[in-house]
Symmetry: C2
Amino acid sequence: MKALSRKEEIISTASHLFKEKGYNAVTMRDIAEAMGMKAASLYNHISSKQEILATLILEVANEFTRGMNAVISDVSSPLEKIQTIIEMHIDITVNYSEGLAALNNDWMHLENDHLKAFVKMRTDYEENFRTIIKQGIDSGEIHARHPEVILFSILSTLRTLYVWYQKRGKLDVNVLKKDMVAVFLNGIVNKH
Amino acid sequence: MKALSRKEEIISTASHLFKEKGYNAVTMRDIAEAMGMKAASLYNHISSKQEILATLILEVANEFTRGMNAVISDVSSPLEKIQTIIEMHIDITVNYSEGLAALNNDWMHLENDHLKAFVKMRTDYEENFRTIIKQGIDSGEIHARHPEVILFSILSTLRTLYVWYQKRGKLDVNVLKKDMVAVFLNGIVNKH
DNA sequence: TGACAAAACTAACGTTTGTTAGCTAGAATT
DNA sequence: AATTCTAGCTAACAAACGTTAGTTTTGTCA
């Protein structure tokens, strides 16, 4: 448990507020109050409200990109890759819950280069995921259904997981991974 | 195609803007400009910005409540009920895409009684869904996995569908229903 | 055509917003 | 001991916000 710099504390505090009310509904005065200081004092540590948002979102986005790069350069079957991606998402959800909320809800409030960088990372990520699914369909491992439906069923569940993970009294991470993988790979129907 | 009242036009216009940028980032002047008028003129038709949000969200929430009530009073198996719910969500997504965006992203900006009413409807809805899943597990139709994981996997996919439905060039609704039901009921693994 | 209502307008209001400027007390460094 | 750095403060800014008041234009129907 290493000590947070004042800047990191501010970003962390802001992220909790963003998660509850969204970027635009949280004021610098709200953040300052939660830190026990005045709004103007925040600017000794950060340069703008936008910087807080960008730091938060791009950190998580980089985490996803790193994870996906590891998966695609791995020698394993498409199904194994999908399983690894699901597990990676769950790990990131647990560790970066607030950043993930900002990424999901407030990415469109990023400006200029930050916005461009984010959109590119997200597009690349989805494209990589889509390719894996298609490979699985081609090899016969995955049912020949519309790949977009598979991609988005999995992705939207994983992306929204943060909303719900803390609400329900801390489901064990390993149970969560196991059941989530099972739901998507094998469905919910009990066949026998 | 019945003619929209001026009030309905405003709410519809606002809903498109809310979907892109979120409730707080859209100003009354933005809405007015999109309507080709001045902000003050909006108040000849609506009483407040909050009224727009509440109308939008509660209309969709009522639609879901109506649908769920129809499902639970139906004589059919849990699996059939889940299938019906998935199809209902897809229909609502197609018909109320913008309202659904507001419901998902901006419900927390509802005030007082509107907020209370919404939260109650959502809680009831989830509780009904959970009960159906549990019945399916008890009867053996559904795999005995953690019901929350099943509930959440399905619900979050359905709730996020609006983001993606229009983006990908208008996938046929019936194909979408068929594949989505198949993904959740049978999974993605091909067991030939 | 004149009367009336509907729906637009201009102007302004009181707040709230993100941010800057300048200051001060204490801690760290020289 | 003198200096510089750190991290807070008060005060204020210009812009943007939702909304109100009062006025003018437009359309409808007697």
